[in-house]
Symmetry: C2
Subunit: 196 residues, 2 copies
């Protein structure tokens, strides 16, 4: 059994929903490991999102491209994060989003049918995935509040504090897109921030 699956199990156990060894086996039998190259996509616009993706190692960005061709980063993910286009995954409709590896990565994938059967066989899994999305919801809500209440500088400083690992992995152009500003302006802000 690959070590990477143990990482998922350890992470899930932190949710305080204890799993029996049978349940852990069941889970392991329903997930698969994948190596992803830099710049490889695990979801592209127009495709249906088929998997819930758990990042073992590496980094991903989820983004949208508008009619003018500009990219807007909706979410980043690093080790122990889940990435999925929830709407496309459950509705089976074509996604409007991309999920792309920022660096070489390893992920675990659970497909829709397996996840649904996990939910039906063992309600604990439904609880776990309820809690996963609740956690993501809380983070997103805080980001919305920041977007409408704070200056770009405040949001940038807050990003550095909240996601130090991401700040090291990502070029500033990507962070700028996440914050909703131009790379040039973010650069000008960095002058003020760094030397203080």
């Amino acid at each position: 059994m690959p070590i990477s699956k143990e990482i998922l199990v350890n992470t899930l156990l932190k949710t305080k929903t204890s799993l029996t060894s049978d349940e852990i086996e069941l889970l392991k039998n329903n997930i698969s490991v994948r190596k992803i190259k830099r710049r490889q996509f695990i979801l592209q616009e127009g495709m249906v999102c088929q998997h819930y993706n758990f990042i073992i190692d590496g980094c991903f960005k989820m983004y949208s491209i508008d009619t003018r061709g500009s990219e807007y980063n909706i979410e980043f993910g690093i080790e122990r994060d889940w990435m999925v286009d929830i709407e496309s995954f459950y509705s089976k409709k074509a996604s409007s989003l991309f999920i792309e590896a920022v660096e070489p990565s390893t992920i675990l994938q659970i497909n829709r049918e397996n996840l649904m059967s996990l939910f039906n066989i063992c309600p604990k899994f439904e609880r776990i995935f309820r809690m996963i999305i609740e956690d993501k919801f809380v983070l997103l809500q805080k980001r919305v509040l920041q977007n409408i209440s704070s200056t770009v500088e405040e949001r940038y400083v807050s990003f550095l504090k909240q996601y130090p690992a991401l700040s090291r992995k990502l070029p500033n152009t990507q962070i700028a897109s996440y914050l909703g500003v131009t790379p040039e302006f973010l650069c000008k802000i960095r002058r003020n921030v760094v030397y203080r």
Copy 2:
């Protein structure tokens, strides 16, 4: 049995998670009806959020107040919407948010203990509340994308289209706060939007 509880049942049945009459009874026995006056709070900063609130009728705003005393609307709710500070509700920590009635309203409330026991007695309820938060997550993610990719005018027009009922109930100052702009600027945008 009050009619208002039937509204909740009908709404939940639309989630495609069919409920038996026993389960419907169980649910009804775990919720209570409350009338809320205009400007009355069902959550205040510093309190722990004790209930999942389902709006039967009326309108609420959820907002944060910053150190300068400015209000920022995080979410609105009308009939058939759920409102709760998820983080405070599950963690039992003091909330940093307010939930206030914009007009006289009627709500159903489920408290934490009852909801947890519903989850344990009948996993269907866990599924229903997983789906509730997933739906809210999708909407929030779309709002984040709009905030970082669109102009204020685009966001305002989109708000009018997506929430026509809210546009009628709320003063423009409240909508401005939700969009993250000043009321004065929203007013100037309305000139362009209305006459076209």
